[in-house]
Structures are given as structure tokens and as C-alpha cells.
């Protein structure tokens, strides 16, 4: 695997039946490419949490995944209300999700903390009333 591969997905707000499709698709592709299973797991978890966040909180957006030999870069861009206090949103247990989201098994305030835990680098840019962009990196360790 020497070339860079870019994958793009649309994410729609409130569409829980399709949430996870981007993460599943990326996971499948990485598996076919023979990427290290630990890397795949990190990417799948971080991407799914990000995707769910977009479905719950944003008005929709795009996911771009750039796979190169040493790193997987994921850029999640949404239009939406933005994150008021990023530091607070990063705290485990802090959530602004409504009750109907909680009844689906989400909204525990674990999304961003999980993303942080499973990525090697995370940058969040957010502007109130405009939207949020997450850039996450997961490094692929050299095979021994």
C-alpha cells in the first residue's frame, strides 16, 4: 500500500438508521487492505462516535478519510450550532443530548472523550452558529 486513498461520505442529521455507514465502510476497506486490526478498531470507534455526534447535534456534514501508508486522517465537517465550550464537551459525562437520544443508548457524554482516547491526535475547531470540524489522526505502526 503506497498510494494515498481518499474516501468521502455524507452524513445526514437525525438519520439514525444510516449512522455508522461511513465507519462500517471505512472499516471494511481497511480490513481488505490488511491494515493492523488495532488500528482498524481505533479508526472505527473514533469515526463512529464522530458520525453519531454529527447525526445528533449537527445539521449534517461530510466525512473525509485519507488513508496513507503511515497514517489515517479523518476530517469531519458539519454545519450546525457549534460547540459552546470545547473543554467542557471533552469532559467524560458532560452531554447536551436530549432524552430521545439517551433512549437510543447514546448521550452519555462519552463521544468526544472516546474519540480523544482512540486517536493519536485530535483537533477541534468550532464556531457558534456555523459548525464544527474535527481532524483526527491514527498512526499506522511499522510492521516488524
Amino acid at each position: 500500500m503506497n498510494e494515498r486513498i481518499t474516501l468521502k461520505y455524507d452524513v445526514h442529521c437525525d438519520d439514525f438508521t444510516r449512522a455508522g455507514e461511513a465507519s462500517s465502510s471505512v472499516k471494511r476497506k481497511l480490513k481488505l487492505m490488511g491494515v493492523n486490526p488495532d488500528v482498524i478498531r481505533k479508526v472505527a470507534i473514533a469515526l463512529y462516535e464522530g458520525e453519531i455526534n454529527m447525526v445528533i447535534h449537527s445539521y449534517g456534514g461530510t466525512i473525509e478519510v485519507i488513508i496513507s501508508p503511515s497514517v489515517i486522517e479523518m476530517i469531519l465537517r458539519d454545519t450546525g450550532p457549534g460547540i459552546k465550550d470545547i473543554e467542557l464537551a471533552m469532559q467524560a459525562g458532560y452531554s447536551t443530548a436530549p432524552d430521545n437520544i439517551r433512549s437510543l443508548g447514546f448521550g452519555a457524554g462519552m463521544g468526544l472523550p472516546n474519540i480523544k482516547k482512540y486517536t493519536d491526535d485530535l483537533k477541534i475547531e468550532s464556531e457558534m452558529g456555523i459548525g464544527t470540524t474535527l481532524r483526527m489522526l491514527v498512526y499506522i505502526p511499522l510492521e516488524e
Binding site: G20, R41, M110, N114
Partner: protein, 112 residues
């Protein structure tokens, strides 16, 4: 224990959907209904015992490489979710047992 054996060994569990990769290993039972926690903590190859039966349960099972989903307390997926499970090749079983008793039964069989 392989997933194929796992499906056959429990009279107490009703098979709802026979998925793919039946030769894979079932490692241990795992219990959690909160999907974000399940997402980050579920061991690979888990027999995931839960009462959370919606389409997101399937996504989490698939992304974390769970071996199968076991719905406890008589819970069941709706038709649309079942279709999705078939499409994704996810094995689903169900039981009327409570979550703990179901997981304990599985634990004993896997470690017995």
C-alpha cells in the same frame, strides 16, 4: 468456542439470525446497554448481552467485532433492524433471562 458451537450449545437461547464467520472464536460475555461505553470497552469476539435492540446496536456490534448479540429479557429487534442484521451478517440470539443470568450462563459454558 467457535460461534457455530456457541449457537448449538445453548437450549436456552433462541437463534434469531444466523450470521457469517461462524468459525470465529467467542471470547467472553460482555454486558452493557449504553452504546458509547460498549463501543469503547467491548472485547473483540464478545457475546454481547444487552436489552438495547435498535439499529445502532448492530453498528456497535459490527464496529467492535463482537461475535454475536444476545438480547436478554425477551427483547427483540424490529423488522427493519433484522433486515440490516441479515445484510451485515450479524448473529443474533435471544432469551427471556435477565442480563446477568444470561451472561453468567455463557461465562460458565465458555470457561467450564
Amino acid at each position: 468456542m467457535t460461534l457455530e458451537n456457541f449457537i448449538n450449545i445453548f437450549d436456552e437461547l433462541e437463534l434469531v439470525n444466523k450470521g457469517e464467520e461462524l468459525d470465529r472464536e467467542v471470547t467472553k460475555p460482555y454486558c452493557c446497554d449504553l452504546l458509547s461505553i460498549a463501543m469503547s470497552k467491548m472485547p473483540q469476539g464478545a457475546a454481547w448481552v444487552t436489552v438495547m435492540a435498535n439499529v445502532n446496536t448492530l453498528a456497535v456490534a459490527s464496529l467492535t467485532d463482537a461475535a454475536c448479540i444476545i438480547l436478554a429479557e425477551g427483547c427483540n429487534f424490529d423488522e427493519a433492524s433484522l433486515e440490516k442484521a441479515k445484510e451485515k451478517g450479524i448473529t443474533i440470539l435471544r432469551s427471556h433471562m435477565p442480563v446477568f443470568e444470561c451472561a453468567l450462563m455463557i461465562y460458565k459454558k465458555l470457561n467450564g
